[in-house]
């Protein structure tokens, strides 16, 4: 899965030069990976929750604060103009990263949650009672609750596409759910629990055929491979910086220009207006119409640095490295007696959810923490999916570009210790 959503993407120049992926060199870029936990080297397998940051991101943000910080879009003075240029420049970086049509189609948000709420409020305000929004059974709460709020507000109906037992998206059931009242499809590109990569190009093609728009939750997807928005023909696409080795509190929503242009504001305030009087206020054009108040300026610039970092390492090289890790982890963990893996779809990102017979994930998490291993345990903000899997919680190892096979071995050995303790 070097490329998500399209098979017709020309390799970018420079990718060949980065195919010699050296994980030890990459690890050297992440200061936190030198840390020890409980006297053991940190084995960080929770990048799906939030990824660690390379020095390039930390240094860029530090440099902005030290050498020329100011608010954006306001001052007539040098620093403000300079920082405005850098902040706005990241839109172009994001647009290139996702192959969007224009940097004016990139709206900065705090995270994917905010992006989805933005669409649910703003685009959702045009929906009529009885209109339908389609989501899937493997959505994160961030892509469930905003639609339930819209349902309560606007009387829309929410339809849920079931998943297959291996965790794959059921295109047949999806197609059957699409109808004349379907106005919006909001589906994840990669499941945060199962790792499933959904057949997004086909999901979008079918939605468009039915006259519906598509919002893609790309939080997990942009991390693991190239996303080509023009090839996908997505209407809205959301991702977040902190899972992409960037800072927290910065993400982006891509929206097709004509859609954003027709949408009312989400939050009101400074920066999103053209002119204000007590009688009437007119709003700025997108993307600024959707960015009320002082934005996360330094975080946005940090996101730009993270994208530059990932691009320099090479997305194809990262995808190949992670595909190797996933195969190894699947095989190695399958050898642990009593271990069940949830999610075995053919198209899968480097996320492995699992359970150990008779041992609650919370207990697994506590015990392997003492071995320095950090994984996520719990419902992963996907309680309906837990219900579908018939478990209250799972343990999840999610791997990023800096993880190694040796770390998977440490995890597997730590799981044997869990079993020892539980006899």
């Amino acid at each position: 899965m070097a490329t998500l959503g399209s098979t017709a993407v020309a390799p970018r120049s420079g990718d060949n030069a980065t195919l010699a992926f050296d994980v030890e060199r990459v690890r050297h870029d992440f200061p936190v990976l030198q840390q020890h936990v409980h006297g053991k080297p940190l084995v960080y397998l929770d990048s799906g929750a939030s990824a660690q940051k390379p020095a390039a991101v930390l240094e860029t943000m530090d440099e902005v604060y030290r050498s020329g910080y100011a608010n954006v879009h306001r001052g007539a003075y040098y620093f403000s103009q300079h920082l405005t240029d850098r902040y706005e420049g990241v839109r172009a970086t994001v647009a290139r990263f996702l192959n969007a049509g224009s940097d004016q189609e990139i709206v900065f948000t705090r995270n994917v949650t905010e992006a989805i709420n933005l669409v649910a409020h703003s685009y959702g305000s045009k929906l009529q009672p009885g209109d339908e929004v389609v989501i899937s059974e493997m959505e994160h709460h961030a892509n469930i609750v905003p639609w339930q709020l819209l349902r309560d507000r606007a009387g829309i109906n929410l339809k849920v596409v079931p998943i297959a037992d291996d965790g794959s998206f059921r295109l047949d059931a999806y197609e059957a759910l699409l109808g004349p009242r379907t106005k919006l499809v909001a589906v994840t590109h990669t499941s945060n629990v199962l790792g499933t990569v959904t057949p997004m190009a086909e999901i979008i093609r079918l939605a468009h055929k039915a006259g519906a728009r598509v919002l893609v939750d790309g939080a997990q997807a942009v991390v693991h491979g190239k996303v080509d928005l023009r090839a996908l023909d997505a209407d809205f696409y959301a991702f977040t910086g902190h899972k992409l080795y960037g800072p927290t509190a910065i993400g982006a929503l891509y929206g097709k220009a004509e859609l954003l242009k027709a949408m009312p504001p989400f939050l009101g305030g400074g920066d999103m207006i053209r002119s204000v009087s007590f009688a009437e206020t007119t709003y700025a054009d997108p993307p600024h119409r959707f960015e009320a108040g002082t934005p996360p300026i330094v975080e946005a610039i940090g996101l730009g640095a993270a994208i530059d970092y990932v691009t320099a390492v090479g997305q194809d090289a990262i995808a190949a490295h992670e595909a190797g890790l996933l195969a190894y982890a699947t095989e190695r963990l399958s050898q642990v007696e009593g271990l069940t893996i949830f999610g075995t779809a053919r198209e899968k990102a480097s996320i492995v959810s699992f359970a150990l017979d008779g041992i609650h994930p919370h207990d697994i998490g506590t015990i392997i923490d003492r071995e320095g291993v950090a994984i996520r345990v719990g419902h992963h903000c996907a309680q309906p999916l837990m219900e579908r899997l018939g478990v209250p919680a799972t343990a999840r190892a999610s791997m990023g570009l800096y993880n190694t096979r040796g770390e998977i071995d440490v995890l597997a050995e730590a799981l044997e210790k869990v079993k020892d303790i539980f006899g």
Binding site: G358, H360, D363, H379, P392, F422
Partner: protein, 156 residues
């Protein structure tokens, strides 16, 4: 560090986690409280049957959760039987201190029930694992909610 783990996962805890006592729904229960840990989705329901004098005649629970939360619920049902409402609440306060205060000794307890606290002492290992205190106290919060008249309590 492994000692801390062994302290946490003592044999008594593992046994109660695997084979919880009083894991049932008593037909004559007259009070009920639910506890929910949003962090992990664990939940327990505590059933109390209180008699005319306000003593706990029967106490049981249903639910799912980690070894710590289930063992704690199981042990709680064993120590609460025969207690008055006030005694149960005092015991909860003592138990909370047991789970959170380094050096808390049974003699410092306000409930004046050293036997019960001795039984609960096996859970003191959670002190070394602050995020697990919520697991250990989940059932107690639910019990307290049952005494307050029912409903759901969360560990948040």
């Amino acid at each position: 560090m492994q000692d801390a783990l062994r302290d946490l996962y003592q044999e008594v805890i593992l046994d109660h986690g695997r084979h919880p006592r009083n894991h049932r729904h008593p037909p004559d229960a007259n009070r009920e409280g639910r506890g929910y840990n949003p962090l992990c989705g664990d939940q327990v329901t505590i059933y109390l049957e209180t008699d005319a004098e306000g003593r706990i005649a029967d106490v049981a629970f249903e639910g799912r959760g980690c070894a710590i939360s289930i063992a704690s619920a199981s042990l709680m049902t064993e120590v609460l039987r025969g207690k008055t409402e006030a005694e149960a609440r005092r015991l909860f306060r003592d138990f909370h201190r047991l789970c959170t205060e380094d050096g808390f000794a049974v003699e410092q307890a306000e409930a004046g029930d050293p036997d019960a606290l001795e039984r609960l002492q096996v859970l003191a290992g959670v002190r070394e694992f602050p995020v697990r205190v919520k697991c250990a106290t989940l059932a107690w919060h639910a019990m307290s909610s049952a005494l307050d008249g029912g409903g759901q309590t969360t560990t948040e």
